[in-house]
């Protein structure tokens, strides 16, 4: 009995163990050999610990940035749009790692059930996006006051509904883009894409496609993800420290020159992101293929909802234009974001993936003009929503960070509305 109590109280409360057990279950269900089950379980646990290490580095770099930026511009809150960091802080600092991992598995189950019994045959296969969705579901179910099993059940149902219905929402446009009904889009930025498509439809001319013009074939400065994030973050850090001055930064930089310290902290931000994402990949490497295999067998006539790059070949020019005009829109959005709750620093990689995909949607509905107008609106939209969510994230305990993928933000608002309605009674 003492041994059992020890296991329950000291081992099964550890997030890394819970995550490892979920991976272990997935591997056992796939009837993998014992060696693969053991190594896969251990690698998944290691992934969580790597993620936590990255999150700590990222959080310390964000704390400095927030303090310097607020001191420099007299703002109450400056946040960086980074869903990776939201996930890291929730799993590590807020101690919700175990709940998030179980909810992720719960979302898989709800998604499979919905795909089997309803006419929405979409199986959401983008692992990272599901992890972000599980994170926000748990965080806001927790915000609602739920804990333990009710929190996991609520998170799984809401997350599973979003995983099934978001591909369905985008499908009318995806069908037009791909010319068939074979695949769906599994990327939690759907509301942004649909807003873009609507604006493009109203303002554009679909006869004049972006694919008829000559453009460079690629965005070479995005070749290295982390280098491009660094190129964006360094000026923000230097600007914040420069305006804040040495005194405001002294608490953090000690004997190091405050501008040098700011430069190094911008680098640390990238280091944190790099380590965190390595952890996320390790953590999902065993869990997602298990889900893919199981879900495909249980719902053989399913439509796989895949990550956004699957649409890029249908309109590569629109991806490039979508990124450019979403970035312009996000800079406008950044300037007006303080009026909506917080000053938000845009994320370069989310602008590329979400912006590029929004470009494809806009081009399909409104051609080139649709891409320009639709994507500027998209850029503003994906900055205002995170700004509106920021005060709530700060209340929960997140420091200087906000979400990027808009469907996860809508999920959060959904929980907040439920809380509001529950409050009435």
């Amino acid at each position: 009995m003492a041994v059992l109590n020890f296991i329950i109280n000291n081992i099964l409360t550890q997030a890394s163990v819970i995550i490892g057990l979920i991976a272990c279950l997935g591997l056992l269900l796939q009837k993998k050999p014992a060696g693969v089950v053991v190594s896969g379980t251990m690698k998944t646990m290691l992934g969580f610990l790597v993620l936590s290490a990255g999150s700590s580095v990222l959080q310390s770099a964000l704390t400095f940035f927030g303090a310097a930026f607020n001191a420099a511009f007299g703002l109450e809150s400056a946040v960086v749009a980074s869903i990776e960091s939201i996930n890291g802080q929730a799993m590590d600092a807020l101690g919700l790692g175990g709940d998030i991992a179980i909810t992720l598995a719960g979302i898989f189950i709800v998604n499979i059930i919905l795909a089997r019994v309803t006419r929405f045959k979409y199986i959401f296969l983008t692992g990272q996006a599901l992890l972000w969705e599980a994170t926000l579901c748990v965080v806001f179910a927790y915000f609602l006051g739920l804990e333990g099993l009710p929190l996991i059940i609520a998170g799984s149902i809401v997350g599973g509904l979003f995983a099934t219905l978001m591909p369905a929402l985008a499908q009318p446009v995806v069908r037009q883009i791909t010319g068939s009904d074979d695949i769906a889009l599994g990327h939690f930025c759907t509301f942004g894409y649909m807003v873009t498509a609507l604006v493009a439809k109203l303002t554009g001319n679909k006869e004049k496609s972006s694919e008829d013009i000559k453009l460079p074939k690629s965005l070479e400065f995005l070749q290295d993800t982390y280098l491009s994030v660094m190129v964006v973050m360094i000026p923000f850090y230097l600007l914040a420290a420069g305006f804040a001055g040495p005194q405001a930064c002294a608490e953090y930089c000690g004997s190091t020159n405050y501008m040098v310290y700011a430069f190094l902290q911008a680098m640390q931000f990238v280091v944190g992101l790099y380590v965190l994402m390595t952890g996320v990949r390790m953590l999902l490497a065993e869990i997602v293929p298990a889900f893919q295999g199981i879900s495909m067998k249980l719902v053989p006539n399913s439509k796989p909802a895949l990550d956004c790059p699957v649409l890029f070949p249908y309109a590569p020019n629109a991806v490039i234009l979508g990124f450019i005009f979403t970035t312009i829109g996000s800079l406008i959005g950044m300037l007006i974001s303080p009026y909506f709750g917080a000053f938000v620093v845009p994320g370069v990689m989310s602008n590329f993936f979400a912006g590029g995909t929004a470009g494809i949607f806009a081009n399909k509905m409104g051609g080139r003009r649709g891409v320009v107008i639709g994507c500027i609106v998209h850029g503003i939209f994906i900055m205002i929503l995170p700004a509106m969510l920021s005060p709530m994230l700060a209340d929960i305990g997140f420091q200087n960070v906000t979400c990027t993928d808009v469907d996860t933000i809508i999920t959060s608002f959904f929980f907040v509305i439920i809380k509001g309605i529950a409050g009435i009674f």
Partner: protein, 129 residues
């Protein structure tokens, strides 16, 4: 969706209205194109020919051959075009067949191939290839 309801039907038409297929002609054309492969001046031209051959098999509904030639085409020249989009359809078709046959290995194989395609589109647009 109320906004896009009309398009749904037109998209369906796109997929339903297939031109009449003359398999023999397509296979003959594929053979002719294969004969031209040795004369291809560069990788780009070879990839174009391989895509055309793949396309003939795709229209003739010879999935295995279509996959083979489209994959060869992407091997020669990594680019986003017909070889990519048709391969996506074919891999998905094969994945579905594997799922119906409950063949874990094949499901994984074709899901991995789809992942490979997505990585390719990311790499092409970010100038990595």
């Amino acid at each position: 969706m109320f906004l896009f309801g009309k398009k749904k039907s037109s998209a369906k038409e796109e997929t339903v209205q297939k031109p009449e297929i003359n398999t023999e002609e397509l296979l003959q054309k594929a053979e002719e194109l294969k004969a031209e492969l040795d004369n291809a001046l560069d990788k780009e031209q070879k990839a174009k020919l391989l895509t055309e051959i793949g396309s003939c098999y795709f229209q003739a509904e010879d999935t295995e051959q279509a996959i083979y030639y489209y994959e060869q085409s992407l091997e020669e020249n990594k680019q986003l075009g017909r070889a990519y989009t048709d391969l996506l359809k074919l891999y998905n078709q094969k994945r579905q067949e594997a799922a119906e046959a409950k063949d874990d290995e094949k499901i994984k194989e074709y899901m991995d191939k789809v992942q490979g395609l997505m990585q390719l589109s990311k790499d092409v647009l970010r100038g990595k290839v």
